[in-house]
């Protein structure tokens, strides 16, 4: 298919439809409203079903029902909406049911604002759900990358039988970029569901044993064993789902670490610093969990400072420090509450951080 110019949110919705989504459930929240709007008219045409849920609580639980019964499900929301979904996400993970969730995040805390923000880093990587649950999280930095990730994450969710979150800040949802959309895969017909998902509850006529999708395990030993099983899966995820890109790490004095929109600003800041005779590089985590710790081993011996660059008060910086393991000083360049720094501001603050680190 040829490249088309599309608004991020619409491209994300279309990518999900092409991935073979049977159901989408959503509740309006800016800056992702174009997704439920697009789904409401386009998904039924593709043979899928749309419900405008009465709340995000309902949306996540509708998603559970549809997916537990074997449908491929996509939901989207923005920061406060994701907060409401947390119980559901933990429950779905515990039931080992797949789901792809797109969070087009905005500035917080609380109701916050509607401008782009990255202060959901901890919410998506640590979650607000109870219990030992991990959720793979991917953070794209372009509309194309987000569309590709949405398409691919359905396979990841199916393979791991776990929710997967894509964190795209409001900038990606609202801007327009050329995008090449993946090919349509079609929806699995209802009579084929148990071939692909033998565990799905479809009616006992459709599979040899009765199926039950459940989370309650009152016997502590059984519950512990379940946690151990889930963590075997998560150990595999930590090996197989790690993703990042990097540039200029070998001789960089400054290494930026940034994801999503912020990483694009860092690329510009790196050019500005080069004009000033300063070598800077970038680690762009794509998987936020599992975190790309291995990327930091590529940092060369010229490095003086690693800078976590975020649209929050500094949330990813905890993971950056863990990955750095004391090898270099770590500092923070950040704006928050929907404020986005210019590349000049980033370059200036990075130069200052370099001076301080070499003082």
């Amino acid at each position: 298919m040829s490249r088309v110019l599309m608004k991020g949110n619409e491209a994300f919705a279309e990518a999900a439809i092409r991935a073979g989504v049977k159901c989408y459930f959503g509740y309006p929240i800016t800056p992702q409203n174009e997704i439920p709007e697009y789904m409401s008219h386009e998904l039924p045409k593709a043979g899928g079903a749309f419900i405008q849920a009465e709340s995000e609580l309902a949306a996540i639980n509708m998603a559970f029902g549809a997916s537990a019964s074997g449908g491929r499900v996509f939901i989207s929301t923005s920061s406060p909406g994701l907060a409401l979904m947390q119980e559901g996400i933990g429950f779905i993970a515990s039931c080992e049911v797949p789901l792809v969730i797109l969070n087009v995040s905005r500035g917080g805390p609380g109701v916050g604002g509607i401008q782009p923000g990255q202060a959901d880093y901890l919410q998506v990587t640590r979650g607000g759900y109870n219990g030992d649950v991990r959720v793979p999280v991917f953070a794209p930095s372009s509309i194309q990358e987000c569309a590709n990730l949405i398409y691919e994450c359905f396979d990841i969710a199916d393979e791991y039988r776990n929710p997967v979150v894509i964190l795209a800040d409001g900038m990606l949802g609202q801007m327009m970029e050329p995008v090449e959309l993946p090919e349509a895969r079609g929806i699995t017909p209802v009579e084929k569901i148990n071939d692909e998902r033998p565990w799905a509850i479809t009616g006992t006529d459709n599979h040899p044993e009765r199926n039950v999708v459940y989370s309650l395990r009152l016997d502590p030993q059984v519950l512990e064993n379940h946690c151990f099983d889930m963590f075997e899966k998560y150990a595999k995820a930590e090996k197989e789902l790690v993703r990042w890109t990097d540039q200029g790490l070998e001789d960089a004095e400054i290494v930026f670490v940034a994801f999503g929109t912020m990483s694009r600003l860092c690329v510009e800041a790196i050019e500005l610093l080069e004009e000033r005779g300063i070598k800077a590089g970038l680690i762009r985590p794509i998987s936020l969990w599992p975190y790309p710790n291995a990327a930091f081993d590529k940092i060369g011996k010229n490095c003086k400072v690693v800078i976590s660059t975020e649209l929050s008060m500094g949330q990813m910086i905890t993971d950056v420090k863990t990955a750095v393991q004391g090898r270099w000083p770590v500092s923070l360049i950040n704006r928050t509450g929907g404020m986005v720094p210019s590349s000049i501001e980033i370059a200036d603050r990075a130069e200052k951080a370099l001076k301080e680190a070499t003082k």
Binding site: L57, N61, G65, T202, T204, D205
Partner: protein
């Protein structure tokens, strides 16, 4: 030899986890008998609640899933979108449905969801040990209303059939009670009708069972059944609220 009684294949032949005299077992059985009689056991998907009946999937011989507390109607709505042809139901207690899950049940009715909700109203939170529910009667003693529920402190009990029957797309709404064999037979007829109307895809279908929780009411099983028939039926009229034409 002629068989005069057989347990329904809809119930898995194990002991249930319910207390003696509890209404859950009776409600389970009549729902499962109806599903068996109409040949639906193999194409039914049920959603169990948070509450004593979370265990229902150990007893009901159909495909089932658990739910988060109160959200079973949203879950069933999702299931219905994937399975247009199956029988879909939720089974919910009064803490689950009439307290934490009010939004989901109202909006399932509002959208005219094509599934059936079986609502077990025992006027108390059973599983957590007998706290007050929105359906607890005035004067009824619970662990969070030790001197009896008062209007001043907690308002008047919520009547779900009366609320739901105001919603246009809820097409079948009936309250039944599980206090004696004759009323159990009537309850079964309501279950059957609800499932037939679900088949016709006319809208949302709802059956409320006035049910007993002898354990948390502090009553012997027989006294608990009398409490259902007298005290509960006094406040919660047992009747049909709504039936579509032709049923």
């Amino acid at each position: 030899m002629k068989t005069i009684f057989e347990p329904t294949k809809g119930m898995i032949p194990v002991d249930t986890s319910y207390c003696p005299g509890c209404g859950h077992g009776i409600a389970h059985r009549i729902i499962m008998e109806c599903l068996e009689e109409r040949g639906s056991l193999g194409n039914t998907i049920g959603v169990v609640p948070i509450g004593c009946a979370i265990n229902a999937h150990h007893f009901m011989n159909v495909d089932m899933c658990e739910s988060t507390h109160g959200r079973a109607p949203a879950i069933a709505a999702g299931i219905r979108r994937v399975h247009p042809d199956q029988v879909v139901f939720t089974y919910q207690g009064d803490g689950d449905l009439a307290s934490i899950g009010t939004a989901e049940i109202i909006h399932a009715a509002h959208r005219g969801e094509k599934f059936t909700t079986f609502f077990i109203n025992n006027a108390i939170y059973g599983m957590t040990g007998g706290q007050m529910a929105p359906t607890t009667l005035i004067g009824q003693k619970t662990t969070t209303s030790v001197n009896g529920r008062t209007v001043e402190q907690a308002g008047l009990p919520l009547r779900m059939c009366e609320i739901l029957s105001q919603i246009d797309c809820a097409v079948f709404v009936e309250r039944v009670m599980l206090n004696n064999p004759a009323n159990v037979r009537k309850a079964k007829a309501a279950v059957k009708k609800a499932l037939d109307i679900q088949d016709a895809r006319l809208g949302f279908t709802f059956v409320e069972f006035l049910s007993s929780c002898p354990t948390n009411w502090g009553l012997a099983p027989k006294d608990a059944l009398n409490y259902v028939g007298q005290n509960m039926a006094d406040y919660y009229p047992v009747r049909n609220f709504k039936t579509p034409e032709g049923f």
